[in-house]
């Protein structure tokens, strides 16, 4: 989980950095916390666990599609946790190690 990503809309960079710092919607974190821990008020350690769950979802999309570039419009449901507007117009790229 040391991977870094670049999220772009056209050529504009919306986020560049560690995948673990990916912007995630708070309501998704709470929803996941209730699902996993039965807790609507997760502590920081539980929040950190939940973030890793979302990051794993994204990493699996890269892995399962054997790609380093994802068009979010193809995975709107799976990526709906990302806290960015209009996901259908963004791309997510794994930095380095291009195919």
């Amino acid at each position: 989980m040391k991977e870094r990503i670049i999220i772009k809309r056209l050529d504009k960079v919306l986020y560049q950095g560690k995948i673990l710092n990916l912007p995630i919607k708070e309501k998704y974190i709470i929803k996941k916390s209730i699902e996993i821990f039965g807790d609507e008020d997760p502590c920081i350690i539980h929040m950190s666990f939940i973030i890793k769950e979302f990051v794993t979802t994204l990493l699996m999309l890269f892995k399962n599609n054997n790609t380093k570039l994802i068009y979010a419009k193809n995975y709107l449901k799976e990526l709906s946790f990302i806290n960015l507007e209009d996901l259908s117009t963004i791309t997510i790229e794994l930095e380095g190690r291009h195919k």
Partner: protein
């Protein structure tokens, strides 16, 4: 494959322990204080369990008091002594104690007691000279964790007890992590109070005991009925008391084999990491008589322990980090900070605690996956 390497957090209830407990949930449900057949039977059962435990620990039966857990025992030991003996002002402990001790001391500090911390070295051993220098006529009690729950370091309790005995202070030993994992003989050391928790040695969560040496002046923590010689009120948890006595019997009977087997496993684990050229530190004492068998508290350079724990969990491998959360950040363990684990290692710490039921094949699976994950995360 699922591999549980978090036995220092808690253990499974063994089949033998479960079997002796089961009748007390259904047929043998009488209150031990009742003077009818099923009550009287359970009074006898508790007394027999107490006798068995006293024999195993080499103490007297009326020195054993059942509690709900290790934390209750520790709270009782410290607050009970403080409440009953307010002519002395100082309490001595270490900064590598369990939070049950640290937070009880913090509470007592607010009540006016002075808390003094004895130094530990970079393996977690108590500095005996520093203890001698701190101890005085004002010292009410010294409280030391016998085997550290995080790094597994086992203290020289005999030496510590000699120092306390000479200074005429009470000595409380937190043996929660130690019992059934290393030898304790209450006749060979001058311990006044000793805390034990059942779930660390294959009996259920929710049962513990406090050994209180005869003649110790201590107040109850929980007030109510006349149970436990009027010292710990509350209807006795018969099933769990019976279970804990059985677990203690099994654990102490098999201790030598357990120690040898787990130390062999632990050495093999580290050898494989060395062969794979993994950059790690073993926190605490060297593997052997001064370290809990099967405890491997390892810090991996430049890695994130939380991530390692998460990725191992995805492989069905269950371990612990020692981190704690405050409101806004994840804090490194107070124990690791106290023994000065270097900053490039401290965040990459995982505690693997091998248990009695861990198999060789399971360990191979863990090591293979761990090496793969570390190489991927480097």
């Amino acid at each position: 494959m699922k591999v549980y390497l978090d036995n220092a957090s808690t253990t499974s209830v063994s089949k033998e322990v479960l079997n002796v407990m089961l009748p007390f949930f259904k047929e043998e449900y009488g209150n031990p204080s009742s003077l009818h057949e099923i009550g009287i039977k359970n009074r006898k059962v508790i007394n027999n369990a107490r006798n068995k435990i006293a024999n195993l620990l080499n103490c007297q039966r009326n020195e054993i008091f059942f509690t709900s857990c290790g934390t209750e025992s520790i709270n009782w030991a410290l607050k009970g002594i403080a409440s009953e003996n307010n002519t002395k002002s100082d309490i001595i402990t270490t900064r590598v104690e369990h939070h049950a001790t640290l937070n009880s001391c913090e509470y007592l500090e607010k009540q006016g007691y002075t808390i003094l911390f004895v130094d530990v070295d970079n393996k977690g051993f108590v500095n005996l000279d520093h203890l001698k220098s701190l101890i005085s006529e004002s010292t009410l009690i010294v409280s030391i964790i016998m085997a550290n729950n995080e790094i597994g370091t086992i203290q020289n309790i005999k030496k510590i007890s000699e120092i306390c005995n000479k200074a005429n202070t009470y000595l409380h030993i937190d043996a929660v992590q130690a019992i059934c994992h290393t030898t304790i003989n209450l006749q060979e050391t001058s311990i006044d109070l000793l805390s034990i928790s059942g779930h660390k040695f294959h009996s259920p969560k929710g049962i513990g005991l406090l050994y209180i040496k005869k003649g110790t002046h201590i107040a109850p923590l929980i007030h109510g009925g006349q149970q436990e010689q009027k010292m710990r009120a509350g209807t006795e948890n018969v099933a769990f008391i019976v279970g804990m006595a059985k677990a203690l019997e099994i654990g102490l009977t098999n201790l030598k084999d357990y120690e040898e087997r787990l130390n062999t496993y632990a050495k093999m684990f580290l050898k494989r990491l060395d062969e794979a050229k993994i950059d790690y530190l073993l926190n605490g004492a060297e593997i052997g008589k001064n370290r809990l068998p099967g405890n491997l508290n390892l810090s991996f350079k430049g890695l994130d322990g939380q991530v390692l724990e998460y990725l191992l969990n995805k492989k069905g491998i269950y371990v612990s980090t020692s981190s704690a959360c405050d409101s806004e950040s994840i804090e490194s363990s107070h124990v690791l900070k106290e023994i000065n684990v270097p900053k490039e290692y401290i965040n990459g710490t995982i505690r693997f605690s091998i248990g009695n039921y861990t198999t060789f094949d399971e360990l191979i699976y863990v090591i293979d996956n761990l090496i793969e994950i570390i190489n991927q995360e480097k």
